[in-house]
């Protein structure tokens, strides 16, 4: 049975569903239905994402029916609590961890349930203090010398075991390189749902489900996703998207060491780690970012961007257009498929402001745009826009900054 059907005898051919569909998946090409002379809706199952916008639009005639079933999930009622993955590597917790704890504590307000953290590795008891200081109520820990920082297969197995034992209803991880590799493996082990790169997490007041909202189609639209029948509801959140948790005055969290869970041997062999002090790290943490886009016209003109970055003490970023053209390495790319940044000041030079780029920087405190096209979309998000030739404006800006005028 098709998951979505049009009930022809109810359809009046009013076209509301066609207008509501973001995927161009409905057309009025069916046989005449309830209203004389009006062709009925036909749904292209290939394009349809079952988002339900059409059924919503057809509330009056109830001509579109979606049958949502899933394979049998976990016993939802047995799951409670909000858990986060305490990612760590080479001596410190990942910088995203305080942010997902912050998100968990926000959800805690609606759910009134404890916030826990899963911490697995070697020598990790050293992080428990910090986790508790962010308001984690319970740290579920496995501290074992055989668990290497890079033994992701072992970590995934242990995380899955802990989740199945402790049964939190929500499990959050960072949308980091490791998070985006480990959490999907865990979700596949447990057979539950995982939503990547959420920009918003909230609790639906009537169902108490976790509403997971994320950009889709390169950021052109937003989608809200639910994991109804499976637990835990897993989600990842990228660095610099959510606010970090405040430190608590009197940390009262407990640490539970789960020594009864056997630690498997890794099938991966860690050889070495090579640190590369690229400006990447500086980019994400920088207070000021100066970015160049297609308007730079030539790779050698990135020197101008660098000059302005130097004058402002900032880092150099780039749009996808500049990176794809080979003008600057991918590590500088800001956007949907690059880095998400939240600096105090973001100066976009010669960047048109495509949705994919905005997705990576629109959280910046202050956005400044320099572009010769007064109609460039970037001016819609910029707090300050300078319309002009960047080859003249940037040197002028550098000059005035340096002269202290």
């Amino acid at each position: 049975m098709d998951p979505i059907r049009v009930i022809v005898q109810n359809c009046v051919g009013c076209n509301l569903c066609v207008k509501a569909c973001a995927y161009d998946a409905i057309a009025l090409t069916g046989p005449v239905g309830a209203r004389e002379g009006k062709p009925t809706a036909v749904i292209d199952l290939v394009k349809c994402t079952l988002c339900g916008a059409c059924a919503e639009a057809c509330k009056r005639y109830k001509a579109i029916v979606i049958t949502r079933t899933t394979f049998k999930g976990q016993d939802v009622k047995a799951y409670a609590g909000i858990c986060v993955f305490a990612e760590h590597r080479r001596g410190k917790l990942a910088s995203v961890v305080p942010e997902i704890i912050g998100a968990a504590r926000e959800l805690q307000k609606e759910l009134s349930a404890p916030v826990s953290a899963i911490l697995v590795g070697n020598g990790v008891r050293g992080y428990t203090e910090e986790l508790r200081s962010y308001g984690v109520d319970e740290v579920w820990m496995i501290d074992d010398p055989s668990i290497g920082d890079f033994d992701e297969d072992v970590q995934a197995e242990l995380v899955a075991q802990i989740l199945m034992e402790k049964k939190p209803e929500i499990f959050l991880g960072g949308g980091t390189v490791v998070g985006r590799s480990l959490l999907p493996r865990v979700a596949a082990k447990i057979l539950t749902g995982l939503t990547a790169d959420c920009t918003e997490l909230s609790i639906d007041p009537s169902t108490m489900f976790l509403r997971q909202t994320r950009p889709a189609f390169g950021g052109n639209i937003m989608a809200t996703i639910l994991t109804q029948n499976h637990r835990p509801q897993m989600a990842t959140v990228r660095h610099k998207v959510m606010k970090p948790a405040d430190r608590v005055g009197n940390p009262s969290g407990k640490v539970l060491e789960l020594t009864h869970i056997p630690v498997p041997t890794s099938k991966l062999e860690f050889l070495e780690f090579v640190e590369e002090k690229t400006s990447t790290v500086n980019l994400v943490e920088a207070d000021v970012i100066v970015s160049g886009g297609r308007g730079i016209k030539d790779p050698k003109n990135f020197a101008l961007i660098e000059k302005l970055a130097l004058a402002t003490g900032g880092a150099v970023g780039a749009s996808r257009a500049a990176v794809d053209a080979g003008w600057i390495p991918y590590s500088h790319q800001v956007g949907q498929t690059g880095k998400t940044v939240k600096p105090k000041v973001y100066i976009a030079c010669g960047i048109s402001g495509a949705i994919q780029h905005l997705a990576g920087m629109k959280g910046s405190d202050m956005i400044v745009a320099i572009n010769s096209d007064p109609n460039a979309p970037i001016f819609d998000v910029a707090h300050f826009g300078i319309v002009g030739d960047l080859f003249q404006v940037i040197p002028e800006l550098v000059k005035q900054l340096e002269n202290g005028t």
């Binding site: 998951p3 539950t192 050889l271 000041v345």
Partner: protein
């Protein structure tokens, strides 16, 4: 060496726009392309074949038109391609997709007793530009019960069933060894993909691309498509358009001056201290 590349045909999201009147996606004129990250995976697969011998097979789970992407893969050097396509797959999230692809890989490997059916290396791009999740690779590996490593920027060597790779992390890279079979997701740093060749295009034109349905890959239908998807999209909306701020037009000396004055007035400084 038996290599399988999993690709996805995606709309070129850089060109997708919202119709401001109807607030819907404008998909006309937006081309369907091979997911750019997967093109790097195809290139790496072909390079592995050139270095170690063997075959490169490309598969995709998608609608009938996805066969175009498979033909393009052949013009880029792949030896064979299969389209994993069935109404039963519709509405699949990453869990259901990973399950279906894993079944297909095992079936194509042919050796029911061997892990991954006898396939040695499974490659794909780190993420698809329409979904951006990066979840299918690890999911496929879990379903096949084999190792996976994501974000590969270099395959150093393969010898005696052991592969050494460089994995790109935020602050550098890790050198990791794994035993075959393995799933690897690749980043753009890994290579520069070749352009198609004429011989490749001729082969692609003639190629027969078999379609594998749910029954052909021995999948449990409960785990496929919408039914096999714990996550479901409940609502789609266009992000609210933010309002613009102050715009300065005129001679650079004036506009820059005015801009800096505004900052000072607002107590903001961008000068390097």
């Amino acid at each position: 060496m038996k290599i399988i590349i999993c690709i996805k045909q995606v709309p070129d999201t850089t060109n997708v726009r919202i119709n401001p009147e109807t607030n819907t996606l404008v998909r006309e004129g937006v081309q369907s392309i091979i997911n750019p990250f997967d093109v790097y995976a195809i290139e790496e697969g072909v390079r592995l074949k050139e270095k170690y011998g063997g075959t490169v097979t490309v598969i995709t789970m998608g609608p009938p038109q996805a066969a175009e992407a498979l033909r393009e893969s052949i013009s880029l050097g792949a030896d064979a391609a299969y389209l994993v396509s069935d109404r039963a797959f519709a509405g699949a999230d990453t869990l259901a997709t990973a399950y279906a692809l894993a079944c297909a890989v095992k079936k194509l490997g042919g050796d029911a007793a061997a892990p991954a059916g006898g396939i040695d290396v499974i490659l794909m791009g780190r993420q698809a530009i329409d979904g951006d999740t990066g979840q299918v690779g690890p999911g496929v590996a879990e379903n096949l019960d084999i190792s996976h490593v994501t974000d590969i920027r270099r395959i150093e060597e393969i010898a005696d069933g052991r592969i050494v790779v460089e994995r790109l992390l935020e602050e550098g890279y890790a050198r990791i060894a794994a035993r075959l079979p393995v799933v690897l997701t690749v980043v753009k740093e890994i290579n520069t993909p070749r352009l198609p060749s004429l011989k490749g295009k001729l082969a692609a034109r003639k190629a027969e691309i078999p379609v594998l349905k749910a029954v052909d890959i021995g999948a449990d239908t409960e785990r496929l498509g919408l039914n096999g998807s714990p996550t479901q999209v409940m609502k789609i909306f266009t992000p609210p358009k933010p309002g613009g701020g102050k715009k300065f037009t005129g001679e650079p000396a004036q506009t820059v001056g005015a801009f800096l004055s505004e900052l000072t007035a607002a107590g903001i400084t961008i000068r390097k201290r």
